[in-house]
Symmetry: C2
Subunit: 228 residues, 2 copies
Amino acid sequence: MQCPIIVTIDVVLLTLTPSGMQVALQRRVKEPFAGVSALPGGYVRPELDANTHETAVRVLRAKTGIASAHLEQLVSESSPDRDPRGWSLSVVYLALVPLDKLMAQGSKGLELCSADALPALAFDHAQLIAKALERLRNKAAYSTLPLGLMPDTFTLAQLQKTYEQVMGVTLNKSTFRARMAPLILEPGQAAPAHPALYPTGDMQDGVHRPARLFRKSMVLNIFESPLK
Amino acid sequence: MQCPIIVTIDVVLLTLTPSGMQVALQRRVKEPFAGVSALPGGYVRPELDANTHETAVRVLRAKTGIASAHLEQLVSESSPDRDPRGWSLSVVYLALVPLDKLMAQGSKGLELCSADALPALAFDHAQLIAKALERLRNKAAYSTLPLGLMPDTFTLAQLQKTYEQVMGVTLNKSTFRARMAPLILEPGQAAPAHPALYPTGDMQDGVHRPARLFRKSMVLNIFESPLK
C-alpha cells in the first residue's frame, strides 16, 4: 500500500572558503539526471538505518568520505514530480564542514561550487540549497551555528569574519566579543551552563598582535536576542 | 526495495482556551494502540496527495472536520520502533486553530487535553507535542505565529494576552504595541510590506474603554529582534 513512495535523504553540505560559501556537489553516475551535478543523497534503508539522521551519516561517509560534520534536519520535501522515478519524499539535512576537513577527505568526486553561481542541478536541489542557506543565515543571528564552519582552532577575529560572511553583514567587534564572552570557558573557571569555546592556551602567530586560539565544543541555540 | 517504510503524517493541533494551551487528540479505533489517545494522523497516499502538506490538510479535514488552520512542517521523525507495524517515517505538522473555529466543527471525536497534563499517548506522540510547543514558544518571540490562535476579530490586548500565554512571560504593553504598530494597515494608508493586522472599524464593547477590533492576515516571520 505504501510501496509507491521513494524515500531518500539529501544533504546540503556547506563550507566556507576564502571566496565565500560553497556547496559540495557530485556528478550523478546513473539516470535520472546522469552526468548532472547533484547533492549527495541516497535511499533510506530500513535494514541499515535506525532513522533518517543515520541515513544521512551513512550516505555522507560513503559518498564523500566525511565522517563528522554538524548535521541537522532542514525540511522534508515531497511531490510526484521532483523525481522522475515516482512519488518521492526526501528528508533534507544541512551539514556544515570546515574547509580543511573537507580537503583532508580527498575529493571523492566532490566539486565545490559557489552558492552564488550554481550550475544546473538535478531534481529540486537548487531549491534545497536556497533553503539551507536561508536557514544558516537566519539561525546565525540567534545561535552558534557558524561554529560548524570553523577549523579545529581559530581566533575570535576569524569567528567574527565567519559570522559576517554567513550573515552578509558587518558586525561591531565589541558587540560580537561581548556576545561570545559568556561562551568561553576560561582555565580554572567552573564550567558555564553551555560552554562553546575553549581557549587552547596557544596564540596565533601573525603580523598583528598575537590573538588567543580557541577550540569549539558544539553548536548551541542560546542567544536570547539576535546578534544584529 | 523501498516497501518496508511506512510513511505517515501527524498533526499537533493546538488551540488556546481560557485554561491554557490545549492539544486536540483522538482515541484510536484500530490497533496498534486501539483505545489510546493519539494525534490526528494518517498514511501519505501518493494517488491522492501532491505532497505531505496536502496529506496533512486531507487528514485534518477527514478526521477533525477542520478545513483551515495555520499549518507548518515541524520535523520528520523516523525509527524502526515508533510504530509496531514496522520502520516508519512521519512528517509532523504544527497546526494552530482558534478555539471558536475548533468548537464550530462539532467534536468529531476530538478531545482537547491540557498540554501540561497529557494522558498516556500512542506512538511517540508525547514527544511530538513537546517539540511543537517548543517551536511555538521559540518562534513567538520572532514572528506573528500566535496570530494563528486568534479568533476572527480581536483587540491588541487580547493578542498580547495570547503572546504571553504562548511565551510564558509577561510583556510590557507599550513595547508590545510598538512592535505590532508597523503591522497594522490603517484605512487609507498605503499597504506596508507585510500587513498582518487590519482594523475592522468596529470597537469592542466592554466594561473598560472601548478597544479597536482587528482582523489578521497571515503569520509572518519578520521581527528583527525578539519580543522579549
